[in-house]
């Protein structure tokens, strides 16, 4: 089995947030919880680039390393998932994650954080596949249905790629090649008179 990966092609991402809305709508995520977000650098200036970021499903995930209850685990295909029944909402994974992926909807008692919520790669959770509980806690399980994650499926410009790491890399490599040797074909200097 291959390893699942996201890759966002920053030359294609147009900051439309379609991925964000697709994710929220598809999994019925509460407002304020962002499994995915789009980040833009140099906004309004030459060199403006956007990238869609969620959990990167790291090979050596810091969140798994720091979790005191071992609630976070990695599947054989590289997808990092959390068990919401085990999670105690301590927030250590948030502190360990460079991408700000772990999210904490507010819980019920004394404003405590509820169980951690993050991108599941649309692969549900530890619950029985397609069970009502899985749907309720983690949202859809599109991987089990043989589909790519919602965000990548919805991406208007096909900037966000998801799937087997090798295939994703192939798609991206082909694009880069077509753009003309490496990263050269996009021409900021020409457009904005940079040297």
């Amino acid at each position: 089995m291959g390893r699942m990966k996201f890759l966002c092609d920053i030359e294609r991402c147009i900051d439309c947030s379609g991925c964000v809305v697709a994710c929220k709508e598809g999994h019925h995520i509460p407002v304020g919880v962002n499994r995915r977000r789009v980040i833009t650098i140099n906004q309004g200036k030459p060199g403006e680039k956007s990238i869609s970021v969620s959990c990167m499903h790291c090979a050596d995930a810091p969140c798994i390393a720091v979790c005191p209850t071992d609630a976070i685990y990695q599947r054989d295909d590289g997808i990092v998932l959390v068990s919401k029944d085990t999670c105690i909402g301590c927030g250590y994974c948030f502190m360990a994650c460079p991408f700000g992926a772990p999210q904490f909807p507010s819980g019920q008692v004394f404003g405590a954080r509820g169980a951690m919520d993050k991108c599941t790669f649309c692969a549900g959770g530890p619950e029985e596949t397609f069970s009502v509980k899985e749907q309720k806690l983690y949202g859809q399980n599109r991987i089990a249905e043989g589909k790519v994650p919602l965000c990548a499926a919805m991406c208007a410009t096909k900037a966000l790629l998801a799937g087997d790491a090798d295939e994703v890399a192939d798609v991206y490599r082909e694009r880069v090649f077509k753009r003309g040797s490496g990263t050269n074909a996009w021409g900021w200097d020409k457009a904005y008179k940079k040297k």
Partner: protein
């Protein structure tokens, strides 16, 4: 590809897939001409910052530069273009240096863009509201077309002028002419047009005439969406025997109307105001009188019917779910209305099965633009056989739709015609989707400006393959005596033309000179509210126009060179990707509201700091007409230091006061803000009367 007055990355994100594909795979340069460094500009290979409202000068400058350098498509111009020398003569005034003076675009950049266009053919030109919403909008859009004619980019794959429409069925709505100056299918308001449609509807012409107060109103243009409220308020002179008393807004994001504070006054003066919309629009909240009725209607997912896309393709939309929450679909609301008005027997004469029979009626009558081949059965067949269409050519290979172009882009002349994927393409037979330019404006013309006489038909040798006449020819008529190709409901005329390999509408030249317009050749005129008093003198606007769609419209008397002293900044508006139109729908969506929770105005940090403002502070923006909005200042270098940009999707507060209490309880949108259009200035196109929202003036102060 050149984009001017279009921010496809925000307004048409799906199209970006193809735009970036062209850039990536074909190495197509992307030129973006805009006052703002938009998200589309971020993907551009050449960004041209233009002063709002000066598009025409820039394009005429490009045309001049192309002609001066000899880069024009001489053969195309010789055989298929009319009025070229007259146009070229006027273009010579727009030297790159003069263009720099008017538009602020460096002369060198104009030259460079001209060269890029000349060396990358064909070029696709796209414009949107940024090109049209000016007092000279009709001249600007014509200049775009003329540029493509000069470059010989018309009627070619990868060329043409590709205007991106606002929503998925705007093209369809336009084709049905939900307008005040023409009957469906661009037939106009002449007696012949009325008679044609009466035949289609199977309704007595005299009956229709009897519905009007006097016959002359049948042929008179009505009010437009941009200025209907003048007909209520009575502050301007109107050419109608009565003020407007009732109004139905059906799916109208009303806060996209400029001078919105005056529109609000009109709402409250109406005797009856009906709003049909899935969500309560801002109009519903601004009314303080009890003359308002809200009819909740279903969304597009709760009803079915045909829709026409930007590319003239027609698709069938199937119902996903039954209307929820007590709302009803548009058809049933219309039916109830018609029944109570008492003419259902006439209205529904041909319509038994909704909506298929409506489509059939459109097929029957809309011959001008070839809407007759797209029967409901064929459209549905296309939807069911998506997989058989080629992704590049959009033509079905084998299968039940073999040879058809997807969606049968109009004109689709007969029920076996494949549709016309590219307009005016003479490389293909008419029966296979080719077309010459239409013969619409007579055969001989003498130009006023030069005294030259020119044949308007295409030159010898230019025609579609298989054409019986090898060269230009006039439109078809009297095949069935007393009718022409547009009015022959038996469609024998069209069929005969196709059989002879010819286009029903003739084979003519595309015009550079329009003798019925105030500016026969597009020229630059300063916006009514211009920040450049010197240019007002040099490029003054039109004379005032009485009875412009029934309203007296000020031009020259409105253009005041001293206005800029009090209102020093240019105000332009536009879209953001998260919200749509007036935002009634998107601001009622919690996820979209979360992404864009606040109304703002983009201000360059230099201007903001000079004015002593802070990023994120509340400011007042005031228009010369007294409209003002209270919004958050957002410092960004997207805009230059003379321009202020506001998105127009917000509503729910008016001049700084919240209207949240006026919405039906529990139905107020999640996000409310001042409507930008309260501040957009007076100004309307001289031909179409589209509102000039993109080039007004304003002043800014701390709130």
């Amino acid at each position: 590809m050149i984009f001017i007055g279009s921010n496809a990355a925000e307004a048409h994100p799906i199209s970006m897939q193809h735009i970036l594909h062209a850039k990536e795979v074909n190495n197509a340069p992307i030129i973006v001409v805009d006052p703002r460094f938009t998200k589309l500009a971020a993907k551009a290979s050449e960004f041209v910052r233009i002063r709002p409202g000066s598009d025409c000068a820039f394009i005429m400058g490009l045309i001049n530069e192309i002609i001066q350098k000899g880069w024009e498509d001489k053969e195309f111009i010789r055989t298929r273009v009319a009025g070229y020398p007259e146009m070229a003569e006027i273009a010579t005034k727009y030297t790159p240096e003069e263009v720099e003076n008017i538009t602020g675009i460096p002369a060198a950049q104009t030259r460079k863009v001209a060269k890029i266009l000349a060396t990358n053919r064909p070029t696709s030109l796209t414009w949107c509201m940024g090109g049209t919403q000016h007092s000279i909008g009709s001249s600007i859009t014509r200049a775009f077309c003329i540029l493509q004619l000069v470059l010989g980019n018309m009627g070619k794959s990868g060329g043409g002028t590709n205007i991106f429409r606002g929503h998925d069925n705007v093209q369809g709505a336009t084709d049905m002419c939900v307008l005040s100056h023409t009957l469906p299918g661009y037939y106009g308001l002449s007696d012949g047009s009325w008679k044609h449609w009466c035949r289609v509807w199977d309704v007595d012409y005299d009956y229709i005439t009897s519905r009007f107060k006097e016959k002359k109103w049948m042929n008179a243009k009505g009010f437009t969406l941009s200025r209907w409220y003048e007909g209520v308020l009575g502050e301007e002179k109107i050419e109608q025997y009565t003020p407007i008393k009732a109004m139905i807004q059906w799916g109208c994001g009303s806060n996209s109307n400029s001078q919105y504070n005056r529109v609000v006054q009109a709402y409250n003066k109406l005797d009856l105001f009906v709003i049909v919309d899935p969500f309560p629009t801002m109009a519903a909240a601004t009314c303080t009188t009890d003359n308002v009725y809200l009819l909740p209607c279903s969304s597009q997912y709760e009803t079915s019917g045909s829709v026409t896309s930007t590319s003239r393709q027609i698709q069938w939309r199937h119902k996903i779910v039954d209307p929820i929450g007590g709302c009803r679909d548009d058809y049933s609301i219309m039916k109830d209305l018609v029944e109570r008005l008492g003419f259902a027997d006439k209205f529904y004469k041909n319509i038994k099965e909704t909506p298929e029979d409506i489509t059939r009626e459109i097929n029957k009558g809309t011959l001008t633009i070839g809407y007759n081949g797209q029967t409901p059965e064929r459209i549905k067949k296309h939807m069911e056989n998506w997989h058989t269409f080629d992704i590049e050519t959009l033509q079905a290979k084998g299968g039940p739709c073999d040879g058809d172009y997807y969606g049968m882009p109009w004109p689709c002349w007969t029920d076996t015609h494949p549709g016309t994927p590219i307009l005016y393409d003479v490389s293909k037979p008419v029966a296979e989707g080719g077309l010459p330019f239409r013969n619409r404006f007579g055969q001989e013309t003498t130009y006023v400006m030069s005294g030259r006489e020119e044949n308007q038909l295409a030159s010898k040798g230019v025609c579609n393959p298989g054409s019986e006449v090898k060269g230009g020819y006039a439109e078809f008529k009297d095949v069935v005596p007393g009718t022409n190709w547009k009015t022959d409901l038996s469609q024998k005329t069209i069929k005969e033309a196709i059989a002879r390999g010819m286009a029903p509408f003739g084979n003519a030249r595309a015009r550079c000179v329009v003798w019925t317009f105030p500016d026969q050749v597009p020229i630059h005129r300063e916006p009514l509210h211009s920040p450049r008093p010197d240019l007002i003198e040099k490029y003054p606007t039109y004379e005032d126009k009485p009875n412009h769609f029934r309203v007296f419209t000020r031009y020259k008397s409105e253009q005041n060179p001293n206005l800029v002293k009090e209102f020093p900044y240019v105000l332009t508006t536009g879209r953001m990707v998260e919200h749509m139109g007036g935002g009634a729908e998107t601001r009622s969506n919690k996820y979209l509201s979360e992404l864009q929770p606040e109304m703002y105005a983009e201000i360059n940090p230099v201007l903001g700091n000079n004015l002593g403002l802070r990023d994120g502070e509340m400011i007042w923006i005031e228009s010369p007409e007294g409209g003002k909005v209270k919004v958050k200042a957002f410092f960004t270098e997207r805009v230059d230091d003379k321009t202020i940009f506001m998105p127009y999707h917000f509503g729910g507060t008016l001049m700084g006061e919240s209207l949240a209490g006026n919405y039906p309880a529990g139905h107020e949108p999640y996000v409310m803000g001042d409507a930008a259009n309260v501040c957009t200035n007076y100004g309307y196109d001289i031909v179409t009367q589209i509102q000039a929202t993109k080039d007004g003036l304003c002043k800014v102060s701390r709130a």
